[in-house]
């Protein structure tokens, strides 16, 4: 097995373990964002260590740079594809809409959907998520940005301007 194949196999195998562990954690009731990061950090470390050790054992030290780079990048790419898919399933309002329709016999009045997904309640739910994530803080009955939330908003605003996207949302 060449160093490149060792890297790809190590990344794929460790990512499979991460996938199972992450889902197991979610099913056990762990908080998603934190568990996602912790389990992936362990997976990434495991990928690097496995690729480096196997490559050093079979091919010597010279091939380690290639193997470690390919393993790290493959793992990062798998994670970059996994996270949006996961959050689409977890938080997308479009996905929630079609799931709700399926569970309610396939059809609903528009007014009922708007009442559920375009109301004050959905804003309260999302603010609760942002509060739990540390992006906003309560200020009496109001909310204000934390430094973390402000940094995120300030990071993305220029990209929206650069890409000519308008307010969006």
């Amino acid at each position: 097995m060449t160093p490149a194949l060792i890297a790809l196999a190590a990344a794929a195998a460790c990512f499979l373990v991460f996938f199972v562990v992450h889902i197991g954690g979610l099913r056990a009731g762990f908080e998603n964002a934190r568990w996602l990061l912790i389990s992936y950090a362990a997976c990434f470390l495991g990928t690097l260590v496995t690729a480096i050790l196997l490559t050093a054992w079979h091919h010597g030290m010279q091939a380690i740079v290639l193997s470690a780079t390919m393993a790290a990048l493959t793992s990062a790419c798998l994670f970059a594809l996994y996270v949006p898919a996961l959050y689409t399933v977890l938080t997308s309002l479009s996905v929630q809409t079609i799931m709700l329709l399926r569970r309610r016999g396939g059809a609903l009045p528009e007014a009922e959907l708007y009442e559920r997904f375009a109301s004050r309640k959905i804003m309260e739910q999302r603010l609760a998520t942002l509060l739990a994530g540390g992006y906003v803080a309560t200020d009496g009955p109001s909310y204000r940005l934390t430094p973390r939330g402000r940094a995120i908003a300030k990071f993305f605003r220029p990209i929206k301007i650069l890409w000519n996207l308008g307010p969006g949302g």
Binding site: L101, R150, A153, G169
Partner: protein
């Protein structure tokens, strides 16, 4: 390592091309526009990979991935992941992100602290939540997941299949689908 170099360089080219398209050829179908740019860049990437030597003229012997097909497949995978997991998600987040828009609205609000009513009424620079949800309904109608008639919304056969898929995904994750 040729795969890493070419995929990284092509991802930078893709981001520049997407930026130029968004600024100089604005379209309502931006995701489709991005997909065309991706396919163009992918074709260029394949052509460059086939036309260049394995060492790109500067890589050491220990940095050459073998067999060659692994390097070729890795180049396509790295570049595609950069697009579908990077550039396209960045666009989705900027253009459609609900939470991100709330944070930006709070940043642009006249006061440091704002309440739920303010955020609900002024979502997306004053467009409001009804606009936000209308946009999502229009998108899933355009994607033929749902249809509309007599002020009602109904699943299509395609929507039904995808709904089952998402409901099963929720069950795998140990979550209760909405009802």
């Amino acid at each position: 390592m040729k795969a890493v170099c070419l995929a990284s360089a092509m991802t930078v080219v893709l981001l520049v091309l997407v930026t130029l398209c968004f600024r100089f050829y604005p379209s309502a179908l931006r995701a489709r526009q991005m997909l065309f740019v991706y396919l163009f860049c992918l074709a260029v990437l394949v052509a460059i990979w086939l036309a260049t030597p394995a060492d790109l003229g500067f890589l050491g012997r220990s940095l050459l991935a073998e067999p060659a097909w692994v390097d070729f497949a890795a180049a396509i995978f790295f570049f595609s992941a950069g697009f579908f997991g990077g550039a396209l998600q960045l666009y989705n987040l900027c253009d459609r992100g609900f939470s991100l828009r709330i944070l930006v609205d709070m940043l642009e609000a006249p006061a440091d602290a704002v309440d739920v009513d303010y955020l609900t009424a002024n979502y997306s620079s004053g467009r409001g939540l009804v606009w936000m949800y209308r946009k999502r309904i229009d998108d899933i109608v355009a994607a033929r997941f749902i249809g509309q008639a007599n002020k009602s919304v109904m699943l299509t056969a395609k929507g039904d299949t995808f709904a089952d898929l998402f409901i099963n995904a929720h069950r795998v994750l140990g979550l209760e689908p909405p009802q």
